[in-house]
């Protein structure tokens, strides 16, 4: 049976992926990677394995939501790696707020590194400034959004226990 927490995570990823492609079509740039932030928040609660699983799911949704990724499955693998990395940032007890931003930065950099690698492998030009702005937007948004999402994760956990 699927838990309420899993359904909430799935809904958040769907909304984030839909929001990202729709806002992108309306010329908003640089856009933060909202789906990654949901994955990071879940990974900070669930650890590397849970982070990788949710990252894989998020990546597949991004790959399949039109227009999708150029290489089917590439986003799934990238987000799984980013989720696993974010899961390594899971800490027992309270953590300072900067920790969320650091984990967001690491995960976002991993994603961007994959994108640059794919670009370089086909000798495509790299838009370094756009890449840097994407990472920056994700980190700044994550510093605000991820603590809220983590608090939501904990609330759902407490609700489940009680």
């Amino acid at each position: 049976m699927i838990s309420v927490r899993s359904l909430v995570r799935l809904a958040l990823i769907l909304v984030a992926a839909l929001g990202t492609v729709t806002l992108g079509a309306r010329g908003f740039a640089p856009l933060p990677d909202l789906a990654l932030l949901v994955v990071v928040a879940a990974a900070l609660t669930a650890g590397p394995l849970g982070g990788a699983s949710l990252g894989l799911l998020a990546g597949w949704i991004i790959d399949l939501m039109p227009p999708g990724g150029v290489l089917l499955g590439s986003s799934a693998l990238m987000y799984a790696a980013a989720g696993a990395l974010a899961g390594l940032g899971r800490r027992e007890g309270s953590v300072p707020g900067i920790w969320f931003a650091l984990v967001c930065a690491a995960s976002s950099l991993v994603l961007e590194a994959f994108r640059v690698f794919l670009g370089l492998s086909s000798r495509a030009p790299i838009d370094w400034s756009a890449s840097a702005l994407r990472v920056l937007a994700t980190v700044l948004t994550g510093a605000v959004l991820v603590p809220l999402l983590v608090a939501g994760e904990h609330w759902l956990t407490r609700r489940r226990i009680s």
Partner: protein, 294 residues
């Protein structure tokens, strides 16, 4: 200032779920292996990946249409807004730009005589290192759109339709790694190919530039205009649509055919209104000019 509570306390399991029976690690490994297998299938151009994409489009396409605006109503709205804004002497830059773009598209000389379906870009896919490579437009099979049709703006070629769902279509935009366009260059129509991927041995291009390689020896000059060569039955590309202009020419570096950097005619990072060409500009049969008798 109190720190946010951050204690990971997983609840005790109530019953053994599928995840617990199989083992989460093993399940994740299996899913990752399946993902890699599908990625390799997609790289090899397999049919499975197209079906998976079509399934995704059928599920998520209606959601995107729901969030995005209706094309015809939106077109009428921005046109009406343009007139109203002109009368009131107010400026709404985005609406005016879209209305002008639509008008320019319909009046474009390169598209005279062509059957064209107007569409709006409703989603931009995961961006590559060089920018967006796929976009979704809000027309699909119900609007007469099929795979391998040209997508254009008033400025020139945007790309080709690679996947079609009932209400949406995915477009591989020019500059994407997998898209190569046969072109004619300059006034004398030298043949070449334009792609987003760099030619072997050529200097790396700056962001936003394309790579041009002629198919044989010939002169290449900065400023040369590049248009599509066209394809059999006008699919995927109709002839004569502007692709860009030659920006710089590479040195010889031991290659037989010259190559150069191209400034694309269309800014794929700022697409709003586009048109899908259901047919090429020429719709009447070409008549024979000789009788065939001595």
């Amino acid at each position: 200032m109190p720190r946010p509570p951050y204690v990971a306390t997983p609840p005790p399991p109530r019953r053994r779920s599928l995840l617990q029976r199989v083992g989460r690690g093993r399940l994740l490994a299996a899913l990752l292996a399946l993902t890699v297998a599908l990625l390799v299938t997609d790289l090899a151009g397999g049919v499975t990946s197209s079906r998976v994409r079509a399934g995704g489009a059928a599920v998520f396409g209606p959601l995107q249409r729901l969030v995005g605006p209706d094309p015809r109503a939106e077109l009428s709205r921005v046109t009406a807004e343009r007139d109203a804004l002109a009368q009131r002497d107010r400026t709404d830059h985005q609406a005016l730009a879209e209305a002008k773009e639509s008008a320019r598209l319909l009046e474009s000389p390169a598209l005279t005589g062509a059957r064209l379906v107007p569409a709006r870009v409703v989603a931009v896919g995961a961006v590559g290192a060089a920018g967006p490579e796929r976009v979704t437009i809000d027309v699909g099979t119900r609007d007469g759109v099929r795979r391998d049709l040209s997508v254009v703006t008033a400025d020139g070629l945007v790309g080709r339709v690679v996947s079609v769902a009932p209400w949406t279509s995915d477009v591989l935009v020019i500059g994407a790694r997998d898209l190569t366009v046969g072109v004619r260059v300059g006034d004398d129509g030298r043949l070449g190919a334009v792609s987003g991927a760099g030619a072997p041995g050529a200097a790396p291009r700056s962001a936003g530039q394309l790579n041009l390689t002629l198919v044989q020896q010939g002169a290449l000059r900065p400023g040369d205009r590049i248009t599509t060569l066209g394809s059999v039955d006008n699919r995927p590309f109709v002839p004569g649509v502007p692709v860009g202009t030659v920006l710089a020419v590479d040195g010889d570096q031991g290659r037989l055919a010259p190559s150069g950097a191209v400034r694309p005619a269309v800014d794929t990072g700022a697409l709003h209104v586009v048109g899908v060409l259901l047919s090429g500009p020429r719709t009447t049969p070409r008549v024979s000019v000789t009788t065939g008798q001595p």
